[in-house]
């Protein structure tokens, strides 16, 4: 699972039918300090995350397929949590 920040959304009318009606958000993975790191990925969003909100993205297709309700769906990344705050414990 990755900590990421919502930085946009995407519209695609022609797509796999199981994705119909799902919001597809552009999520930018973050590193430990919360800075952007790596390539943005597109995740489907069941919770209505807002712009620039921190979210947790799971890249487990089984979870996404259960959410979408279609076992033949190629969906993979899905937002499974919206983060309130992150606290960093210094290693002892």
């Amino acid at each position: 699972m990755q900590l990421a920040r919502v930085e946009g959304s995407m519209i695609a009318t022609r797509k796999h039918p199981s994705l119909n009606g799902w919001r597809m958000l552009i999520c930018q993975p973050l590193d430990a300090e919360g800075k952007a790191e790596g390539t943005p990925i597109i995740a489907i969003d069941p919770y209505g995350a807002g712009m620039h909100q921190k979210v947790i993205v799971s890249s487990d297709g089984l979870t996404a397929r259960k959410f979408v309700g279609d076992d033949l769906s190629p969906v993979r990344q899905i937002i499974i949590a919206i983060v309130d705050e992150t606290t960093e414990e210094q290693a002892a």
Binding site: T39, G61, L72
Partner: protein
């Protein structure tokens, strides 16, 4: 799912039975700089390694597509066929407003 520009197509002559008659696109994946707001396809070759993507949505050269990699790419096939990248969406428009880090 990652975004990428379709830069070409592949036609297979010799292939295993499951992959017969499939349509393949050569895709150049976008990285952070290539994300933008708008409906205009970027249609560029990036420095990311390109890959071949299975396509049954009719993506053409120059389109921006959303493709899924990994085992999930073979999920739509029962029994699953040996592919690890599939075109899952033809992108119409993206809205991208990156937040600059302090």
């Amino acid at each position: 799912m990652r975004l990428g520009s379709v830069i070409g197509r592949v036609t297979l002559s010799q292939t295993i039975p499951q992959l017969k008659g499939a349509r393949w696109l050569v895709v150049s994946p976008h990285n952070r700089e290539h994300f933008q707001s708008g409906a205009e396809p970027l249609n560029t070759i990036t420095e990311e390694p390109s890959l071949v993507v299975y396509d049954n949505l009719g993506g053409g050269v120059g389109d921006t597509i959303g493709f899924v990699e990994g085992r999930e790419a073979a999920s739509p096939f029962d029994p699953p066929i040996p592919i690890d990248a599939i075109n899952a969406a033809l992108v119409d428009e993206t809205f991208y407003t990156p937040k600059e880090d302090a």
